[in-house]
């Protein structure tokens, strides 16, 4: 008998379920229903059942956007892993004092307004931005480059935005590995590379998987980054959904794209998540 013997325990959970039911489950279900409705003449809805919205997803017109979203999300994840790992490792092997300091340094960008951090790259990359002025001044360039509103700008913005999401779980996993395991491997004549491959990486796997999930999911559904750094030139799924809802006002089709996005998130996220449970134990 613990708190479970409070007289009406379900009353504790009920308000939460009510809030999430009304403002989360019902809107999602509604969107699912709408994805099978037709678009009215003037942009409204017509309650005529159709699967046309899902058929339209196969239109080659949109394949570049899906391809770009997947490609950018995957490369962002991989690059975050590659540049995040050394820092996470150094953090985990520093003195406790240094660890706290580095942890705070990684957490500050994590908690800094995402819009502001994206804006910083707009400021650097635009035609009259710092990079172009600098290059022109030094004489590397004769004319400013179009750096903003490119796939490259979106890619940098995504890596910059989600790198802390990779470093933190990596650090947590690496910190748990006892340095004596690495020393033991060294004593047995393993080189730095093979210690890394056969000791550090296998033991850090739960952190690697967690970091990859935490970077991949927001990257594939990114909205702010492609909107501000990609513009109309480099659309991703998130900006396409916004475009269909607010600009074209084709809600049924916008809903269908949303469920495609959810499918992509679940297809990649769920196996990784299940795998993490296996490795984690």
């Amino acid at each position: 008998m613990t708190v479970s013997s409070l007289r009406q325990p379900s009353l504790l959970l009920l308000p939460t379920l009510l809030v999430l039911g009304v403002f989360f489950c019902i809107p999602l279900l509604l969107m699912f229903v709408v994805s099978f409705a037709s678009r009215g003449l003037y942009g409204g809805l017509e309650w005529v059942f159709t699967v046309e919205n899902y058929q339209r997803l196969a239109d080659p017109l949109y394949w570049t956007i899906y391809g770009r979203s997947l490609f950018l999300a995957v490369t962002t994840t991989v690059v975050c892993l590659i540049i995040g790992f050394p820092l996470a490792y150094v953090m985990a092997r520093s003195s406790p004092r240094m660890q706290t300091l580095l942890l705070v340094l990684v957490m500050i960008p994590f908690w800094t307004n995402f819009l502001v951090r994206t804006y910083a790259w707009m400021f650097l990359l635009r035609t009259e931005g710092l990079f172009n002025s600098l290059f022109l001044h030094v004489g590397i360039l004769d004319a400013p480059l179009d750096l903003l509103y490119t796939n490259g700008a979106v890619f940098i913005g995504l890596v910059y935005g989600y790198l802390p999401f990779m470093i933190l779980p990596l650090y947590v996993a690496l910190e748990r590995i006892s340095p004596s395991l690495e020393e033991a491997a060294h004593d047995l004549y393993a080189g730095s590379v093979s210690v890394f491959r056969h000791v550090v990486i296998p033991l850090a796997k739960p952190g690697i998987v967690a970091g990859c999930i935490l970077v991949f999911i927001p990257s594939i559904g990114a909205f702010i980054t492609p909107h501000l750094l990609g513009g109309g030139q480099s659309m991703m799924l998130g900006t396409l959904i916004q475009h269909e809802f607010l600009v074209v006002r084709d809600w049924p089709f916008g809903s269908a794209i949303s469920f495609l996005l959810m499918l992509l998130v679940l297809v990649v996220g769920v196996p990784l998540f299940k795998g993490r449970r296996l490795w984690g134990s």
Binding site: M1, V3, P109, L115, S133, F223, S258
Partner: protein, 255 residues
């Protein structure tokens, strides 16, 4: 080993420069006297003064604080009950409930935003601060529940049992034993939820209506009209506030 560690340290320094460089540039240029902003023309506090005189900015700030406070309080109060029940009680349909609590944290924010927009418009629910707050509760509530449950799992039920053996009612056991142990987690979860709400752009963007501009929406509309030194100054303020909030939460964790 030492040599490769030095290599890794060098790369780490590079990563930190990458993380902080752009933010520092914005901080520095927020004091730049030049209106065209890419070249340095001496220091000034002019842009900060300009911001202080912007009435709509103050309004947006107070809207943000209001939405943040209400959605955080709702998440804390409802989340506390849910977390205690899920960890200590017997739950029917646990997998379904776990799913409902996980999904808002996993699905892309755009999707949550457009689903809410669809829902509110179809119900003829006027878009404004109420709808924005409801949207923020959807991501804050599962977050708070997750943090509180993690903490509750570490609190041995033995303490509550001891209180009960000594004649405390379940309610007394909760108020005098469990809750004080949970207080640091409540504070941490509250700060996280509040920061998340203050920073949120995507869900707010889709659920907002006339007259319900929050701070991120204001920043966004300023960015769209062109890059000005005022945005640099505002960004610098927001970065400083984030740092302060982290400082506060760390100070509380130490205690």
């Amino acid at each position: 080993m030492n040599r490769s560690f030095r290599w890794l340290t060098g790369m780490s320094v590079g990563t930190l420069v990458f993380l902080y460089g752009p933010i520092l540039v914005i901080l520095i240029f927020s004091f730049n006297a030049s209106k065209i902003s890419a070249t340095w023309e001496g220091g000034t506090l002019h842009w900060y003064g300009q911001l202080a005189g912007d009435h709509s900015l103050w309004l947006a700030t107070s809207n943000s604080l209001l939405v943040g406070t209400v959605s955080t309080l709702v998440a804390l109060v409802l989340g506390l009950g849910a977390a205690v029940f899920l960890e200590r009680g017997r739950v029917l349909g646990q997998p379904l409930i776990e799913g409902i609590l996980l999904l808002p944290l996993v699905i892309p924010e755009v999707m949550l935003g457009v689903a809410l927009l669809l829902f509110f418009v179809m119900l003829d629910w006027p878009l404004g601060l109420t709808t924005v707050t409801a949207g923020h509760c959807v991501f804050n509530l599962p977050l708070v529940i997750m943090v509180l449950r993690a903490r509750l799992r570490k609190i041995d039920p033995v303490w509550e049992l001891a209180a009960r053996d000594l004649g405390a009612s379940p309610w007394q056991a909760f108020v005098h034993v469990t809750f004080p142990l949970l207080r640091p987690a409540m504070l941490g979860a509250g700060l996280m939820a509040f920061t998340l709400s203050l920073d949120d752009f995507v869900v707010t963007f889709f659920t907002t209506g006339p007259g319900a501009t929050t701070l991120p929406l204001k920043v966004f509309s300023m960015m769209r009209t062109g890059i000005t030194p005022e945005i640099n100054a505002l960004s610098a303020i927001l970065v400083t506030v984030s740092m302060l909030l982290i400082g506060i939460s760390l100070a509380f964790q130490r205690k």
